[in-house]
Symmetry: D2
Subunit: 138 residues, 4 copies
């Protein structure tokens, strides 16, 4: 059964401290942009912010990160971070993302993150309860 998940969007702006010696956004900061968008969307779109996971004793760790760089973002640029759940595993999810320049909609980079849900006490992977899967199946 194929479940199609919604794509959500967060608008952000490049900060001067994101720019590196090559005069564009430092490669590793795109990572942080996706992280910022996920936190925003977990709360605003899925109605289950990270704080709620933590209260339940759950955390999320990144297992794999993959980014394809296409066009650099520059000083002052506004951009959209679109993310969506591509696949749900018993103990994790694969989240795909696309970052595009707001001005012209052109893709700057895309890729995916595989996250594992862990039990904060043991630090070990945990099966995601059905009710959480349901909450994230929008």
């Amino acid at each position: 059964m194929t479940v199609l998940h919604s794509k959500f969007e967060t608008e952000l702006q490049v900060r001067p401290d994101d720019i590196d010696m090559n005069q564009h956004v430092h490669n590793s900061r795109y990572f942080d942009y996706v992280l910022a968008a996920r936190y925003d969307q977990m709360e605003r779109c899925y109605k289950m912010p990270m704080e709620e996971f933590i209260k339940l004793g759950y955390g999320w760790v990144v297992r794999t990160a993959h980014i394809e760089y296409k066009r650099a973002l520059n000083l002052g640029d506004r951009f959209m971070v679109r993310t969506w759940i591509h696949e749900v595993f018993s103990d994790g999810v694969e989240v795909r993302f696309e970052i595009s320049r707001k001005e012209n909609g052109k893709i700057c980079c895309d890729g995916y993150f595989a996250y594992t849900m862990i039990n904060l006490k043991t630090g070990r992977a945990e099966t995601i309860p059905d009710w959480i899967v349901a909450r994230y199946s929008v």
Copy 2:
């Protein structure tokens, strides 16, 4: 003669990568918030963005930075960065700032930055032309 300069405001939001092991915004990031606000206000409020200085062969370097920390910002917080020119010297300016939590207006930190205008070719301090002083005397 005392010149009173306008106070300008930029609204920003804490990014998850700004949070450090103490669970609040890392001390040095407030620096970057002031920098982001200045770039925004140079363009939006003074109508003379950093790019224009660079085209003219000018740059700005920080000579002194001073911050008084009062209350920490936390994950997801929205905040206002208010900055204003406190004094203009022949080759620089002292900019004062206040960062306050948007939700309740309480001051999180305040302080000042002394900047020197340099000639990008020589790297040396340069007298600020009158027309630039005028443009920043709002």
Copy 3:
């Protein structure tokens, strides 16, 4: 023809500002550790530092980054960043890396970066001259 490239190693230490709210090294900082190791090894091991590429009008941009996270690094940890050229293309290279904790040699993360060599003036991909390929064929 298979060319086997040398593996080089750089020792680094976690800085307190690398630690995030989860009390271990922030995911995107591993990226920066690999970057630091490459700069060190370009100079020390390949005898052709980044500055030399820039003088020749060349630059390197990241096209793809891929990281598999295994074990987190913590405050104060010393670690080894091992990198090697896996494949050379006409206009780029695939660099593989492994980061391991110094104390016990256990792998913390591994992955690869695909870099493209560009002409700094045009910003476009450039064929890597044979003499540079030779210099990096150690």
Copy 4:
């Protein structure tokens, strides 16, 4: 009574991700260099690492930070961070620092940090016990 405190030194190296669009170390990173040196020296020189404070239920927060910039550090530079306790208050300390380029010993920046010791449970300032003052009176 004047107590003269020892000056301790930590050697560090600029990482490529510390460099900003002005091609030298980003202003706020000097902050992080001092932090890294303090963590190193608390453990190595005072024989009381941050972890020990935390186990005792104590933490340290920055109340004031002040930096005077003199000469910028550049890509690859090795530098020394010298710090010493200038004054001990009932609930805090003023730590002074100097960062100098290793190659020529020239001062890059100096300044001070005022830290307050807090009780991690209440978040409030706490009187520093005599035995800790003694330990830091080297």
